[in-house]
Symmetry: D2
Subunit: 347 residues, 4 copies
């Protein structure tokens, strides 16, 4: 079985395992108070052009989202998200379990707009008794979105503006940040993200690490006491060094961006092959996730060889799937998939 | 600096890194739904002689404690723990953050007794309005305790009996379980733990793994829907395979117990050396943590070379420290420490 | 200013104040352990034809909803509600603050259907990883709804059936229960409600009491330890007697139903007057809340004399309002409103 | 049965019922947005000599404590309390249910000291990893304490000083505030309380009201968005007017203080009678709660006529009880108790 169902089927980029092996018996301070974490944080701050930022390392996406959003919110405050946002659909109520309501807005291609945000806040504050609804405090969005789509720089700037006007924090979930930043047509840089967001994270789990997400807290208000949140949520790794070392490796020699680009190129080839075969797509994505709509018959044949994620039945004879590449996707597997798409299609 | 301050200064047992490297580019299903996790679970169930158990893998101790205790408790229920229990002192209020009160009982050498538990429950239920206090539901204890001490089999059986009489779950925190099971004088087996506890965990982070704790749920009542708790608390690792593989390696060829025994032997040598020098101990521990009381002057000299954890000032001229060995402690480092203890003592 | 903006503008039915005054200096046990609470509970159980029920008294609607739903749910479980449900829009995130997600379904006239519920649950359980979303556990609905509309007996029976098939509790919010039960065309009885719901409450605050809601727990599973929930949420009134006495008074001589019917009749008169004038309604309601759509100009004139609740701007020249009557609405105030509707309309 | 077991056995001071009856059919805005609440707030601010304060009305003590402490705390912050503090022993884990740990300090006569507080905070901040324990943020104390004892002005000033030095809020639970302020020997005024506390409440439930506590928020930092907390915790009463009206009545003509003094005088007479008979006391209390230690035989005889609260068995033949008077205690009941103490003692 060749897996295209997600971007975390393999282990880590080999350089990471090498570094872990080389340094394995070194002794270091626990809980992230080690030189690797410090160095990785410095490198990230430099890349983000945000020297005042603080960087912390957590092990996974749900943990990161729930910890960051707890830090953003007083108990009566809510988070604004696209209805398709990861926190709204795939995290088992992790945010609500910290006591906060997610106010979900309709999305277009996985994205929400500045004007939706402003409109929502205006309605809240104009109510006779605003305190009868949670107070909006943070905008959550993903770059790329769950559908592989990207916000343009202009869209993000507009959202930032809406956040400023409405006293909102902006939190950008970058579980697949590298895939977004290196996508064809993207006009947003890492420094832009750092300049626009109050807090965001750089995903490692889906881009080359065994596990790990680097939280970059740009807004000093959110920096205070963040490690209390991390500890309380079970998010401080005893051997924190493992996280520092992985991110240090990923950000040496541009590795993070190189391997991200690779995944996008692999996805692009699959996309073109699908277009060639005349398949429609559920969303137009320039990143490592593609959402072609396939005839069920073809899909059945492919699924004897490949694993995909089913997204939804489009009609009686067609199904939209997600095909996911990653830093680890082998070109020969893509060759084979492209060939099989063509071959099965012809039969 | 040679670190004796904790048991998580190094990476993983080399066999684990080898296995991770060998299997690195294998593709597997995420979230623990992979063959390694399944195999590791089977091995653990066999070792525990508890075929009906369910085994889940989490990444760290605080995460494990808060997830398990959430699963044990309705919102109005409390956890009984020694005042020195890890959840009561070192987890940033993680348990309270899930809504539950910890009822802390006075400890002796880190341990609580069956009769304390029964007495506490009796007082609760005899109150005119029991509902004006949280309802005791779970007993939390550690094996070994925070002070390196061990419950005897009889003590655990008595506690089990008290739990049965008072409708309590028994949760055993085994962050250092291997160090306890292989300690000289210990009369408790892994199968005993599984037979007595409703749920417990086998610590990997402190005994040979990069990270990871294996939760063994013996009581079927606690098995239902446990993965919802894991997910909601951010505790399902995307590449769950990493956890399964580590525990599979640890439980091959008795490795877990061999390396645990090694740590205890290293600690024993330090203990004997301290006794030789006439130092008293804060607690009498047969495991990898030793708590000698050292003259401050000697301590200052040693701390130019070695890292220890300070526990408390005993008097103006003496300080109790914790010396911690681990699976990774090098005999030559212990030799040197023993020699230095003697040497500095003489000066 | 004559208030038609809500149904809690006045104090209590005079008989209640009389009883409070008569018994004021009696001494009684606190926290609801008094004879009045016991008697009121018995009377309610008899009226509900549900001898196995348990009845508890709380002071307000939000408190009742959050306490009952906490009792229905494990931490990873969610509540299904109409998007217009009170808990989803007017309670400041009180439910989420207890850790639970509300899954909101589209409503029609404030109501949801059995098939929506079944469909939602089916989707949950068919997911590859159901534990990545909260587990649906309770259906919340109001009788009457926020829009004054009513479920028919058949609709409620269908929902009960869907709940049974999907292992869901059914919780009926009866803040305005009396207004629903006595509405023209209603075919649901109090005994039906008790037979169909696992738990529901009979609203006192909006129907004749100073304050107070009577929670009727029909399902024994939800009865256990309910007072712990009440106490923990701050919901046990020290002088619980005040609640028992009020409900006892309301359920003597059919008072609760008489005064409910009065409110409906007052509303009916206003409704007919609006129809006469040719106004459309946002919802067709047979109960004490009416939602006519008025020309803005007329509304401005009326609002110099009357208080209404604005619901929404329908178009540039029309606004939908809520007109609310209650047990305390004076016929002469309705006369005047009807006259003014006609008079201002003509100008 | 004559009840001396608590101070909430009766209804309200008759003047309150009169006012409720007089105003019963007045229409007013809901949720505390009415003239009575506004006036009561003004009166209280004037009495407190704290014009910048905000005053809110809640229905009961547990609700007040959990709402105020939620407003004082970020998720990782804890509350310092005497081990005997009401929140620590009699509120079903209500504070922990909002996610916060209570750090309980040993008490002397129900009180804690400034130096205990400072010592605790110092230990927290000197830890190598302070974030491994909850961060102390608020000191909770009661005036009078659970044992009827009082802090002196000097003690409170010292505690305020310790709070300032350690960045702590001071919250004073005044469930029985009137009984404290009017006690013989007390040197603390209402204005002192307002000057020293960041937030406190004036208890109505136990001093003349049907129910109700007036929260006085002196520190502007805690004022912001407090109504969101109230709503989310189910603490905004629909007919808020009931609370405003009660407090307005209590603070007219010094009523609150007159009836408090009455209770203290009644208690004083019982105290003197006990002293006369040679009984020891568990605590020396100048307020409405007395804790004499009675011979079990005498107690049995008394309990055929009077209700008391048992506090603890002192030895085989003696039991400490709580005798509680209130604003409603009848002098003739005290006469009878005093006589019976003497009479039964002689037999």
């Amino acid at each position: 079985m060749i897996r295209f169902n997600c971007d975390y089927s393999e282990g880590a980029h080999p350089r990471i395992l090498e570094r872990l092996t080389q340094t394995n018996l070194e002794q270091s301070a626990g809980y992230g108070n080690d030189p690797y974490c410090r160095q990785a944080a410095e490198v990230i701050k430099t890349l983000c052009r945000c020297p005042r930022a603080e960087v912390h390392f957590l092990t996974g996406g749900t943990q990161t989202n729930l910890t960051v959003l707890a830090a953003c919110s007083r108990p009566y405050q809510s988070i604004i998200s696209a209805v398709s946002g990861h926190i709204n659909v795939h995290e088992a109520g992790a945010i609500e379990a910290t006591g906060h309501r997610i106010e979900s807005l309709p999305e277009q291609y996985g994205k929400i707009t500045a004007s939706q945000i402003s409109h929502f806040c205006k309605a809240h504050w104009e109510d006779d008794n605003p305190e009868f609804a949670p107070q909006p405090r943070t905008v959550y969005l993903s770059f790329p979105t769950e559908y592989g789509t990207l916000y343009s720089l202009q869209e993000l700037q507009d959202i930032r503006h809406a956040c400023d006007e409405n006293h909102l924090f902006l939190f950008i979930d970058g579980a697949r940040l590298g895939y977004g930043l290196t996508a064809p047509g993207n006009d947003v840089t890492l420094a832009d993200i750092a300049a626009l967001a109050d807090v965001f994270y750089i995903g490692g789990t889906k881009i080359g690490a065994l596990f790990g997400e680097a939280v970059v807290i740009c807004n000093p208000k959110l920096q205070k006491d963040f490690r209390y949140f991390m500890k309380q949520k079970g998010g401080i790794l005893a051997k924190g060094r493992l996280l520092g070392l992985q991110f240090l490796t990923l950000f040496e020699d541009n590795l993070y961006f190189e391997i991200s680009k690779h995944a996008n190129q692999m996805a692009e080839r699959i996309k073109i092959a699908c277009q060639h075969e005349g398949f429609a797509f559920l969303y137009e994505s320039p990143t490592n996730q593609q959402f072609p709509i396939l005839p069920n018959e073809l899909l059945s044949q492919l699924e004897e060889i490949y694993a995909f994620a089913h997204i939804k039945r489009v009609d009686k004879t067609h199904t939209a799937i997600r095909i996911c590449t990653s830093w680890a996707t082998r070109p020969e597997d893509v060759d084979q998939l492209v060939a099989d798409l063509h071959k099965f299609r012809r039969n």
